[in-house]
């Protein structure tokens, strides 16, 4: 009966991968390619959540989602959208999507740095050649930047998937404790609840083995899907 709860992990994985990769890629390209003067400032600020403890991040976001005084609801009220305000972490439908935002918020910094490092390693002559050939900035991004940083993107996606499968229970445990009504359990927090709250150690160990098998399978599938010949120009 616990299986359908365990399936929730993929939701977090998919949304986190898309959210983090799109934002991190955008920020990395913007900060390296577009010659913005205050880029070092942004780089420091965006890396900031990465040095905070995940527990502190989780609790900070619990405050933000707090129904009566949190930023989200009072912000919606301020904009005159009171109908949209709701107890974010207290509703079964919205609790899990609400967990995605803090994870993205906390995760972007590292991948931004990885992608920025990759982009600044691309030789400038490729862009000059592309410009002479009349490629727009948009085309340059798709045809030059993206293929050349594909290995790093691949590593980042794998890393996000693995850390989400193995590590996202911390934020779940801190922010919702798996609730309301067990609707936000991912596998790690479910293991904790079964083994150390309800003392079903055998069942907990089974979940642990499931986690190992599932992450191995996921990594293998991803490796297979994202294989591509190394691009060289």
């Amino acid at each position: 009966m616990g299986v359908e709860k365990v399936i929730l992990s993929p939701f977090l994985v998919v949304t986190k991968v898309i959210g983090i990769m799109v934002l991190a890629l955008f920020i990395a390209v913007a900060l390296t390619q577009l010659k913005i003067k205050e880029a070092p400032f942004y780089r420091i600020v965006f890396f900031f959540p990465n040095i905070m403890s995940i527990v502190v991040i989780g609790i900070l976001w619990t405050f933000i989602y707090n129904p009566s005084m949190g930023l989200v609801n009072s912000g919606l009220e301020f904009l005159g959208l009171e109908s949209l305000a709701r107890p974010w972490l207290g509703s079964e439908t919205w609790a899990l999507p609400s967990l995605v935002l803090p994870s993205i918020w906390a995760g972007i910094g590292l991948f931004m740095l990885i992608l920025m490092g990759a982009i600044s390693n691309i030789s400038k002559s490729y862009y000059e050649a592309a410009e002479i050939d009349g490629a727009s900035e948009w085309q340059q991004f798709w045809k030059v930047t993206l293929p050349l940083i594909w290995p790093q993107i691949k590593i980042s996606i794998l890393y996000i998937v693995i850390t989400t499968l193995n590590g996202s229970f911390i934020i779940v445990q801190v922010m919702t404790g798996g609730g309301p009504n067990n609707s936000t359990h991912v596998m790690g927090s479910y293991l904790y609840q079964q083994a150390f709250v309800q003392y079903n150690f055998g069942y907990g160990a089974t979940i642990g083995v499931m986690i190992l098998i599932l992450s191995l399978i996921t990594v293998l599938i991803l490796q297979f899907l994202m294989r591509s010949e190394k691009t060289e120009y």
Binding site: L23, F26, I27, A30, L31, L34, I36, Y42, V45, F46, F48, P49, I51, M52, S53, I54, V55, V56, I59, L60, W61, T62, F63, I64, S68, M69, G70, L71, S74, W105, L165, N166, F169, I170, Q173, V174, M187, G188, L191, Y192, A195, F196, F201, G204, A205, G208, V209, I211, L212, S215
Partner: protein, 257 residues
């Protein structure tokens, strides 16, 4: 060459999302900082604005009321002890794996590296029983040992690559001068791989300082709580007593340590 209007617009347009994200990152932290100066009633009345009075002395109050001093001390012990233990175990191991070509040293290295891939989640239940068997459950020294061992594969992985960059001739010269392998390790290898050792120690210390889940499982009594646990405990406490303001004050302290 003049820039076209479109290009200038594009340059400004690109900044809008960047600035929005900056706000999204900084504002919650700033909000937490402001909130820590407010009283409870004020947080509910006026969650957005600046506090009416800046109560500094409440920081001291929060520090003593919630036993934060004990948990900071516990966290310090666990972090220092764990990091030290990791080094004591990792430096000789990585030196042996890298330089002493004994039977199975390659295999041992592969074993250590593949241990990095195994999620820590799997270790919880066996470790729980192991610790309770040897009476180290609910004991910060036991936790420090678990931490040290859990970061050992990573530390060995990094240190081996640092040690492999040290030229072999230095060791050979020392050996000709009559140094024993242990003195070589202590007098030559350790000082020369100092930058690697410092990197590993910093990363381990951050990891130990912030670790939450193993502490949650292996520590049970409140006077043994590490900082991360204490914060979470107070947070569930605050839900019932409405001590939000106190609690925000507590929250600020570890995030910047």
């Amino acid at each position: 060459m003049k820039k076209s209007v479109g290009q200038i617009l594009g340059r400004t347009g690109i900044r809008i999302p960047l600035i929005l994200w900056t706000v999204a990152v900084l504002y919650p932290i700033f909000w937490m900082f402001l909130g820590s100066f407010k009283s409870n009633a004020e947080i509910y009345r006026n969650p957005w604005g600046f506090p009416e009075t800046w109560n500094w002395q409440n920081y001291a109050e929060a520090w003593t009321n919630f036993n934060i001093d004990t948990s900071v001390f516990n966290s310090l012990i666990v972090t220092v002890l764990g990091a030290a233990l990791t080094l004591v175990l990792a430096i000789p191991t990585s030196y042996a794996i890298e330089r002493m070509n004994f039977r199975g040293s390659k295999f041992l290295f592969t074993l250590y590296v593949s241990a990095m891939m195994i999620p820590m989640v799997l270790g919880w239940i066996p470790l729980f029983f192991l610790l309770s068997e040897i009476n180290l459950l609910d004991n910060i020294y036991g936790l420090a040992i678990v931490y040290a061992v859990s970061q050992l594969p990573f530390s060995i992985f990094v240190l081996t690559s640092f040690i492999s960059t040290i030229p072999k001739s230095l060791e050979e010269a020392a050996a000709i001068d009559g140094m024993s392998p242990y003195r070589i390790l202590w007098k030559i290898i350790t000082p020369l791989s100092m930058s690697g050792i410092i990197t590993v120690t910093i990363m381990n210390a951050i990891q130990f300082w912030n670790e939450y889940f193993m502490a949650l499982i292996f520590l049970q009594s409140q006077e043994n709580y590490t900082l991360a646990l204490a914060i979470d405990f107070i947070s569930s406490e605050a839900e019932y007593t409405n001590a939000w303001a106190h609690y925000l004050r507590v929250l600020l302290s570890p995030s910047f340590l």
